[in-house]
Amino acid sequence: MSETPKKEDVEYWRWQEYHRVFSEKKWKNKDIITAGVDVGSVGSKAAVMIDGEVYSWGVMRTGSNSPDSAKKALSWAMEGTGLRVEDLKYIVGTGYGRVNVPMANKAITEIACHAKGANYIWGPSVRTVLDVGGQDIKAIHCDETGRVTSFLMNDKCAAGTGRGMEVFADLLKIPIEKIGEVSLKVEEEPPPVSCTCVAFAKTEAMGLLRKGWSKEKVLAAYTHAMAIRMGNLIKRVGLEKEFVITGGQSKNIGIVSRIETQLGVKCLPMPDWRENGLDPMIAGAIGAALFGKALYEKEQKS
């Protein structure tokens, strides 16, 4: 952790906001330009698609005001493209704050959007999608068209989610982007913490640190507990290959590899998202934009 500033006020949980425009694609007014805005509890994601192909996207932290976060995420996705909101033929809002997306033509649950997005990103072979978001986990089973056949929502609280990881990043003073890697730096996998509840796990972690456990070991124990919990959710909804993880935690290698161990199944490989724009964290927004296209075409026909 030598490269991180030693200042006292470093916010280790604060992940980088980012956006991309695939400017090699050009848009024209006759194109079906649609957008999906996925307002999550922790991150707001917006994706703009041209004729069903990813054109640009933006990811930022959700503020205290959902409509505002939705607007900001969308304008960030459109930054530098010359597009205006009026150019978008159809906008679909999704996620936790979906009813608070003011410019949306329609709100659709994130379950449907994540399945659709995963189907687009990895192709029709995807059957099981685990969406690990900021404050909840959803296990989704879908068919070859990305249509949801069965889904299960996690119980109670933020246990074992992105928000829990942020809390641990801060507690252990490890930058959030490195947390997966660091959790794997243990010689032997420690037993999981007994409770994944963020509040209790924090107390338990303090106890382990005092007992002389290294940061890496504590983090491994917490990540291990999260992976067990997620594995159980998937077993209930019915694990079927091919299996993928979407949402912010899809980038946490510590979580992904431990879920794979739990289930004895490998996830489909992470797409080269920096190049092709198929970012699993944006799966919900991509799915929403695809529904936008389908709904627009349906409206034109009728």
């Binding site: 649950t109 449907a112 056949t149 889904f151 299960l152 119980d155 209930r236 529904f291």
Partner: protein, 95 residues
Amino acid sequence: MITHYGYSDGSGEYYIVIDAAKCDGCGECVKVCPQSALELVSMFIDLDDKTVAAVTEQQRKNIKYACSPCKPETGKAPCVTACKQKAIWCVWNPR
């Protein structure tokens, strides 16, 4: 589309399961639920909106408490009995 609402903890796992394909949105389960844990919602299925029963947003993370008086060991839950379409059922696997 089959939706599982519930929890899994040290006591076991408990889920209320609703099959949107079978549900006709009649609302009988909503009427009989003693905890007002169910409501009719519009669900987006195959590019259309269908009215189906669902656990309310507020009770989704509270099922452990909301549904405990009706757990299957005390006989069939009112929502399950009320459903003519057999679109709603409970899963309770004590540990």
